[in-house]
Amino acid sequence: MNLRRRFRLWLLVLIELSLAAVAVATEGFWLLIVAGPVVALSWYMVEGPRGKSLPRWAVNLGAIIVVALVGLSAIADPDPGRSMELLSWFVLGLIVLRQLQQRTTREDAQQIVLSLVLVLASTVQSEKLLFGLILLVWCGLALYVVILYQLYKGTDLARRRRAECPPDSAHLVPPLSVRFGPLELASVRRTVLVALFGLSIFSVIIFVIFPRDILFKAQVPGQGPGRRSGFSQNVDLVSSERISESRREVFTLQWKDLDGVPMRWNGPILLRGSVLNHYDPAIDKWAPTIASRRRFTRSIAPSPNGGFTALGVRPIEDRGQQYTVEVTMRSLTSKVLFAPWVPLELATTEGRTFQVDPANLIIRDSSVDTLGSYWSYRLRVQPFPTTNVLEDLFGTPSRESRTLGFPVPEVKVTTLAILEEIGVDHEVGADETVWARNQRVADALTAWLEDNCIYKTDLGDFIQLVGEDPIISFLERYRFGHCEYFASALTAMCRSIGVQARLVTGYIALEYNEASESYTVRESNAHAWTEVRVGEYQWRTWDPSPRSELEAIQVRNSSWADGWRWVYDRLDFLWNSSVVGFDTRSQAVLAKRASATWSERVENLLGSVLEGIRSVNRYFRLGPAGYIWMTVILLLAMSFLVAGFAVMRRRRRVIELARIGGAERERARELAVQLGFWADALRIMERRGLPKSLSETPLAFSRRASDIDPELGTRLGVLADLLYRIRFGAHSPGASELAEADAIVKSIRGGAIGT
């Protein structure tokens, strides 16, 4: 395969890879299915035996159509956030069209640039592991293609220049001899590897030291970069993006009794990640209250040896009905620790710092002196805590937990209608407490939701009307939705009639693996439910989402590939925690570690050197003057070392220049001393811009020099003559001859060539 064909083939592969990058970044795999074969077909069409191509006018027309389509799309949805997507579309169209036409070297270069722009535009849109892998491969391939392009372009230009001859004189011009065989290819590949190595080193250094907080703020601690976990700290009823059927493993969970024996819990395990008390009807969004965000004040630092650290304000005395939950991360890099109700103690294998919201018992990682995200943690939990345990945990109940009412008045009307329909009184009875009323109402409303609403993840028919709250739409108009709608409706209904309730998001563990005796939690297990207050400290969980539907979805989504997902998920976790989540804090930790390591090493080295000097001084009993003597001896040794090195280097150079490597060892050593003048002369001539070529004899070199400067040539001729006599004539030069040769060398040193 010649150079041009090889370059074009790898350019095609590069473009296909760019298409794959765009497809992964935008999750539009149809792109790859449609544009990929077209680009592949272009190889057969343009480079094939028939060499067909689109005419230039057709390509220009196609480009105009692409511009028009992109422009119309931009007008239809003028969202600045789509600019990169539109740019990708535009570039993609151009690339595909250009692939179908005959190209010059200039247009080949444009294809490479367009491919680069396409990948850069995709980079802005995605941080996925798969995209990252494609990006790395693309970089390596791009280096190879660009290097091939440089060689191809240079050869093409040289050929064209050579062809610029008078008419019908082409037969007089000697052909350009360009060979690009396996040796050249191997050399190019080695160069690509070297360039890739350099690129990796430099790019990682720049990546690490690039200041993250110049224009954008560092990520808010606690939120973390885990945007792909399926879990969100907020519930947005307008957007349903979060709901996915992704089978990505988020973490695994083992439920153990106090003796450490793994067991299966008699029901799904709800793992709390965020407590949402505040509903904003303007944006239809649940969020934690500002007060709860500020409440993350209590810090705990579990010991790195794996011992438990209490989360409560006081030590827990009651040890009844306690279990251990061990969570091992697979792909999640969230700062939030997911815990079942109610967590009592926490243990980690690394020295990390966590912050606890004492009112909601939400825990999050706030380490500033560690790099990356945690790998695993253990929690001691008590699913049915007694009042004493809760008192020890919470201290005093928070004011926020008494929040009542709901900001959408229609919800109360609807709730009252429902309660009337099912015959439940929402007022506190004479012989019941408020907490009992709360339980009664929550039970009734949960039952109503389970009976009258349908669980669906596809919300394509859930058209939200202007001026109507989504919760009202769910309760009165559609009566279908996913867990967030169910939980939002129950929470809203409870709060509208004075029952204290809050929305909780996290994960539900349904999938139990008998072999590993652990639960596997996937992205699709992200869940939302409701907690209703049933005591001074007690909150009880109500999950209005139909359990049977959740389990059916779980079973329906299972496939044979689930068993192998952990390989990808592990890489994904590494990617997210080390690359995507690398932030200012990580930079600080790295800098601290690096400086500590280097300063420690330098201190150790200096210490050992000083100790060695002291011990030598003690051994020889030299006293304080001994240090001076040792310094003098050290300096002398170093001088001898440098001088010896210089002599060895000069001898090696003489042997190389005078080609006496093949002589006997003794003879070579003798010649190396005698022929030093020739090495000096050649070095001077090289500095003066007249180097001797390897294939040139000393005499031919002196003749060439005499063409330029006769006097210089004569001097070199004398030296060359002496060289021949010594090297081949067995002449042993006397001191006077060598001194004369040195004098000639000195005379060569001065003056410019040709003067």
Partner: protein, 398 residues
């Protein structure tokens, strides 16, 4: 030796793109964009390091140049040596750099061709060549050579300029002479076929000599065998080739040159035409195996005696190439030598014919009617060719 970095337009655009991505990286909390910025920046660094280290280890020398002639490709060969023991040198381009005076005044060598090598392996010596097309005859002083490489990524180039002075003679352009013109001119006068003074493969009797082993028995002089006991063989004479002397009359100073002003031709153009005519006649005489000599009137150069063969032709061409039309003109020497010479004589005048400067038997041709002598339809090699334009009297395309 002068080493320089070059940033070309793609390099500038790449730097601009890198800055843009850097701005995007600072503006957007996306670590992949940050990494992309790092990769782009690293690419510039790696490019500089690779190309710089590659060029440091390259050595260049110009080999002896071959013959240069107007209208013929002029091949300059270079020897590239990679002294590195590890790294190959890729995509190296070698350009000649002429002094501005050389290119402006004479336009001898418009530098467009360059030498190119795709790879020089570690420790390898490689020869590459550049093909150029000289425009005018004359002395060409090659001065500097530049080694350039934009390897590996074409973002920035590294060049090394070396002083490699060399003198090259550019011979005049040779056109085909009209068919039979030279034969007619030569054989009609004293230049016709004659007997040589030496024995050869002819038919006429030359002499007899003693028989030597190896002589053919057919050559034995059988009739003489009766008179003498020695065995003799007959030697035949050989015919000497026709002889022609070409006289280039440049004795008239250009200012005094008389000609009909036509097509913006200057006296200098006409003198160049005359030189081209002389060169073409020499080439034609050489091709026809004639003996030929050259006399240039107007300068102090001695007439070149009659000889034949490749080296003689090269000598005459070099003599024509070295003519400096800017030098002072001398009055022509006596034509007695021309009178005594038994050869045909063709005198070429740049302007009007002046018969006083040559023997009476001489043929006089003028450069103003070059098309009567030279056949512009075919070149020396027999290929088709366009007639010369007014500003390019030698018919060499720009």
């Amino acid at each position: 030796m002068r080493r320089r970095f070059h940033l070309n337009l793609p390099g500038l655009l790449f730097v601009a793109l890198t800055l843009f991505v850097g701005f995007a990286a600072a503006n957007r909390p996306n670590n992949l964009v940050v990494w992309s910025f790092g990769a782009l920046l690293s690419l510039i660094l790696v490019s500089g390091i690779i190309s710089g280290s590659m060029m440091v280890r390259l050595r260049l020398s110009r080999l002896e140049t071959g013959r240069a002639a107007v209208g013929d490709p002029f091949e300059i060969r270079y020897q590239l040596t990679n002294t590195s023991g590890l790294r190959s040198a890729f995509a190296v381009r070698v350009d000649e750099i002429l002094r501005p005076s050389d290119t402006d005044r004479h336009e001898v060598l418009p530098v467009s061709g360059h030498a190119w090598t795709i790879r020089v392996a570690p420790g390898e010596e490689q020869v590459c060549d550049a093909v150029l097309w000289p425009r005018r005859r004359g002395v060409l002083n090659l001065h500097r050579v530049r080694l350039t490489s934009f390897f590996p990524f074409g973002l920035m180039g590294r060049s090394v300029e070396l002083e490699l002075p060399q003198r090259v003679l550019v011979h005049p352009r040779v056109h085909a002479v009209r068919p039979d013109l030279l034969r007619t001119a030569v054989t009609g006068e004293l230049g016709g076929i004659r007997l040589s003074r030496l024995p050869g493969p002819g038919e006429d009797f030359y002499s007899v000599r003693e028989f030597k082993p190896g002589d053919s028995i057919r050559q034995i002089a059988w009739k003489r065998l009766g008179c003498t006991e020695d065995l003799l063989v007959i030697q035949r004479s050989s015919s000497a080739p026709p002889r022609v002397r070409i006289v280039l009359d440049l004795s008239t100073p250009p200012a005094d040159l008389r000609f009909e002003a036509e097509n913006d031709l200057t006296s200098g153009d006409l003198e160049e035409r005359a030189i081209t005519m002389a060169a073409s006649l020499i080439a034609e005489a050489d091709k026809a195996d004639h003996e030929y000599g050259l006399t240039v009137l107007g300068f102090e150069d001695k007439p070149i005696p009659m000889r034949r063969g490749h080296w003689h032709r090269e000598r005459l061409m070099a003599s024509l190439a070295e003519i400096d039309l800017g030098a002072e003109r001398k009055p022509p020497l006596s034509t007695s030598m021309l009178d005594e010479e038994r050869s045909a004589c063709i005198v070429i005048h740049p302007g009007r014919i002046d018969t006083r400067k040559a023997p009476d038997r001489a043929l006089h041709w003028t450069a103003t009617r070059v098309e009567d002598v030279l056949d512009f339809k075919t070149t020396e090699e027999g290929t088709a060719e366009e007639a010369p334009s007014s500003r390019s009297p030698l018919g060499v395309p720009a």
